[in-house]
Symmetry: C2
DNA sequence: GTTGGCACCCTGGGCTCACGAGTGCCAGAC
DNA sequence: GTCTGGCACTCGTGAGCCCAGGGTGCCAAC
């Protein structure tokens, strides 16, 4: 029922329905070839460690898989432990509950599900969710009208900041989870304009504009008695030697010319160099857009104290940026489930993220309870990334 | 005890201890002349409406006041309803609990306190808090070392954005509440630089730099086949006619010259004018810095759903800016307690805010449960404003 | 391998009960 | 008139108990 809603049988599916089993028009489909790339072993450094060996078709026969899927779907949909009877109903299995119970016992032995207490239904473990996700294919979950909405919202963005802010907002609204959008690092972007604006006798504002539209400003304390004429000359020097360089190289370039500059400009140039020492090359100041934090509070999965820590985490933009960037190693959506997250506070949360590319890659994703609807979330993330991509191309063309 | 901690008997106090009552070395002091200016009737538009009539010394005799103060302090400190015995202890009253009970009954009749249920202790009502705050004088609650810390943190800020971000962070850390810092509107700031940077053949970036250090950028879609030469001329026109104007006047100025400009520049100038149509004069895009949201989750006053709505509110920066700005009509700290807030979702929350001035005023404050330690929060807000003020002066001198 | 049946387990809700904190009020003392 | 001790009363809370319900594991039979 609810499952059906979430996985509308759109698109061809009855395809390769594997071994001959009494399997009716189940909404849960097999893994097609565009299956979601999973977060697993890009190299050996996946946090999860022990989980599923990559060749999926190992310990679970078809029926066990169906049972697992049913349990995950049901649990995600209703939040309660699901029992054998329910599984029979929802998976439309043509066996008895007793049989399913046996399967469930097996699944529990294998670590895919667990019971909160003897004689409650079963609940998926992180491993169970992982398996479910691995077998899932991302739905095109953003329905027509919604998709148009996304297109419209993102399409009318005026610059990149705006675009990313909108993306964050759209993402959190569609998924009702916390959205995270990390702006591209931009250190390879090229400098389009360098300006030095005198604000007061003792201070000036350094403006750096990159060809991506990124604007950086730095306050600069000028040496006493710097004259406007000197500033003008510095402007000239900067314009000549620094414009067109990569953001990542700006600091070195300025430092270099400072050393060779005439004595009376040296101090000013040094000050300028200092101001560009950090925040351009390194990715410490990634802009991060966070949206929909309120959704965390609404979710019962998180108890008070945990919630509080999650919110704190969301305020540490640097950590956040690293977190999401780390999770997105290639161009496929990635899922980090519960314990797979290194970060302590994300134990009972999951991250679904994907990279997008501009000159250099940014990434985006959503954060929510482990018990989330991975199918539709994956679809949404993917769709939003595509749309963002397009809008970005529009902006920079 | 706890009260003592929160109101250390620093500074002269034993002063005008009003009428002759057996009042020992209470930590709760009388209202001195630098008493906190309250949010009340700057004009007739205070949301609260019916609460305390201004001449404070009306319905409450001294002992009732003491009792009320004790109840508020105790309740704030421990979060539980406080009973007559407790009041006797904590207020060091030399009367019996029975007497206090009579006083409490009176206070309840007057609407200052209430009992959650028959035969629990009493809890302050909004009106009770209001009265308490009205009689309170702001403590210099930021202790020495902390104050230095604030000074250090704010002092090393490089520009205004940075400074305000730090202020927000400091404020939330000191109070353990949600901090809100609203940047000055800046529409009266004067334009120091106008730049038009061509990014791609079809688009450019308009940069506006104000003498406050504020930088605004706007993406501009250029008419097809705009040449660099044209851009250069537009730059000239802008530099000549717009520089030095107030931000609030920029749009009109550009629109005006667009009409008079040579035909081949008109479209470009129109585009530029469009881009400056909003966000400069109006205060819709106040920058708002929010910090310490996690503290909301930690507080038991808010139940789940309410919490969620509060978090949502915090994401609506525009509303937030209006909220805080509205609350700060003059240069004294203001307190909005519970129902005094127009905004529905703030029913059980309080706002403590104060204005600070630059060229034009910004404001800042904290948001937390109604049951907060107004004494120290007021002190902290005041101290932070002072410090911010100083740092701002440093920055712009 | 599957099934129905059955004993068993555990949570959650509802109920009762005793306790304790706190009150309101009264009669008497100052 | 004001304060006080005392007392009866009121509720909310927590413990203890029971029962129903949903779920399980296992077994014997198909």
């Amino acid at each position: 029922m609810a499952v059906t809603e979430r996985h509308p049988p759109r698109g061809a599916s009855a395809a390769s329905t594997a071994p001959g089993r009494p399997r009716p028009d189940l909404d849960i489909r097999d893994v097609p070839d565009d299956a979601v790339k999973v977060s697993v072993p890009v190299s050996g450094d996946t946090p999860a460690g022990e989980s599923t060996p990559l060749p999926l078709d190992d310990d679970l026969d078809d029926r066990k898989r169906l049972v697992l899927r049913a349990i995950v779907s049901e649990h995600v949909a209703h939040g309660e432990p699901v029992g054998s009877k329910r599984v029979v109903q929802v998976a439309r299995l043509e066996v008895s509950a007793a049989t399913v119970r046996n399967e469930m016992a097996a699944l529990e032995r294998l670590g895919y599900i667990t019971q909160p207490h003897t004689s409650a239904g079963r609940v998926p473990t992180d491993k169970g969710y992982r398996r479910f996700v691995d077998e899932l294919r991302a739905d095109a979950a953003v329905a027509g009208p919604q998709r148009e909405l996304v297109q419209e919202l993102l399409g009318s963005a005026t610059d990149m900041e705006d675009l990313l802010a909108r993306t964050s907002s759209v993402l959190s609204q569609l998924t009702r989870l916390v959205s995270l959008v990390i702006a591209p690092a931009g250190e390879t972007a090229r400098l389009k304009l360098v300006e030095l604006v005198g604000l007061t006798p003792g201070s000036a504002l350094l403006l750096l504009v990159a060809d991506t539209g990124r604007v950086e400003k730095r306050s600069i304390e000028l040496p006493p008695q710097t004259t406007e004429a000197q500033l003008e000359r510095v402007r000239g020097v900067l314009g000549e030697h620094v414009r067109g360089r990569r953001l990542g190289d700006v600091h070195a370039a300025i430092a270099a010319i400072a050393d060779e500059a005439p004595a009376d400009l040296r101090d000013v140039l040094r000050a300028v160099a200092d101001a560009t020492a950090s925040g351009l090359a390194d990715d410490t100041i990634h802009h991060v857009f966070v949206g929909g934090q309120a959704s965390l509070a609404g979710d019962a999965s998180f108890e008070r104290e945990h919630l509080s820590r999650l919110l704190e985490l969301l305020e540490e933009r640097a950590t956040l940026a690293r977190l999401v960037a780390d999770a997105t190693a290639d161009d496929e959506p990635t899922v980090r489930i519960g314990e797979e997250n290194e970060v302590e506070d994300l134990r009972s949360a999951s991250l679904v993220a994907q990279r997008y590319r501009l000159v250099t890659a940014g990434s985006l994703g959503v954060l929510g309870p482990t018990r989330m609807d991975y199918g539709s979330v994956l679809g949404t993330v993917r769709a939003v990334v595509e749309q963002l991509q397009e809008s970005l191309d529009d902006l920079s063309s």
